[in-house]
Amino acid sequence: MKTLEEIENLSLEELEQKAAETAAPVPDGLERRLREALAARELAEAARPRPARWIPYASLAVAAAAAALVALPQRGPKDTFDDPLLAYAEVEKAFQTISDKMSVGMDIVREAEQTADMPYNTLNKIQK
């Protein structure tokens, strides 16, 4: 065993020579553990979501859909009638339908009014 002073007096070449002579012992299973650790790291890397991959594509899809919606002409349905008089007749029929349905509502209101007036009228008759 060399003293600290002896070690300090050794030259660089002598130190390298001594280090090469005494190889450090490798712990058991170190290689296997290193391999496992590397494999686990690779798996974790692969499993981690990479937003940078799909965000540009998704953004492009959104932009394209929005552009299509705004820029493309909105194709409307085909006119049911070619003749304005026939179309007019249908418009009038539509207004008639709306009025008929509204009349149903008005009839209910009138009936409700009559029912609401009944006690008042009865009281009036009694008072007379």
């Binding site: 919606l69 006119d79 049911t80 009638f81 709306i98 149903v104 509502g105 209910i108």
Partner: protein, 161 residues
């Protein structure tokens, strides 16, 4: 991949909600079985508006002011039980998504009629009537810039016929 699918589903929902209007409802159901459909375009309304003083019954009512202000009429009358509930739901979604106000609601013998208008005190920009019976649904949608006063007068005239 899962995120992409969720994103596209959200996109589709957004666009479908955005596109919900009288025209889209008409296009969705007009070709279905047992559905009668009528569409009158703005161009046709302009042509009708050129017809001088149109006759309604025995009276001469000048329809032209209202007709000229209309830009679209969509009518769907469905007796197809398999689509009635979907048509009704779509129409209600469209009404709720817009700035429609309930004008009238009447329930009578299983029939529910609701009328909605959109606009202000002077102008009606949209009118929707949704009538639902157990086996029939009627959807009428009018688009335009109608004078509320003229619209009311027209309906009153028709009601007195």
């Amino acid at each position: 991949m899962k995120r992409i699918i969720i994103l596209f589903a959200a996109l589709l929902l957004t666009f479908s909600a955005f596109a919900q209007n009288g025209k889209s409802i008409y296009q969705k159901y007009s070709d279905a079985e047992n559905v009668s459909a009528v569409y009158v375009s703005p161009a046709m309304f302009r042509m009708i508006g050129r017809i001088p003083d149109l006759e309604v019954g025995e009276e001469n009512v000048n329809f032209s002011s209202i007709i000229r202000s209309l830009t679209g009429l969509y009518i769907l009358n469905s007796e197809n039980a398999s689509i009635n509930s979907a048509l009704r739901a779509d129409a209600e979604r469209f009404i709720n998504a817009g700035k429609y106000e309930l004008l009238m609601e009447a329930k009578n013998d299983g029939e529910v009629v609701r009328m909605f208008t959109m606009g202000n005190d002077k102008t009606i920009e949209g009118f929707v009537m949704l009538s639902a019976e157990p086996d029939e649904v009627t959807f009428i949608c009018l688009d335009g810039q109608m004078s509320r006063k003229a619209f009311d007068e027209l309906l009153a005239t028709q009601m007195n016929k």
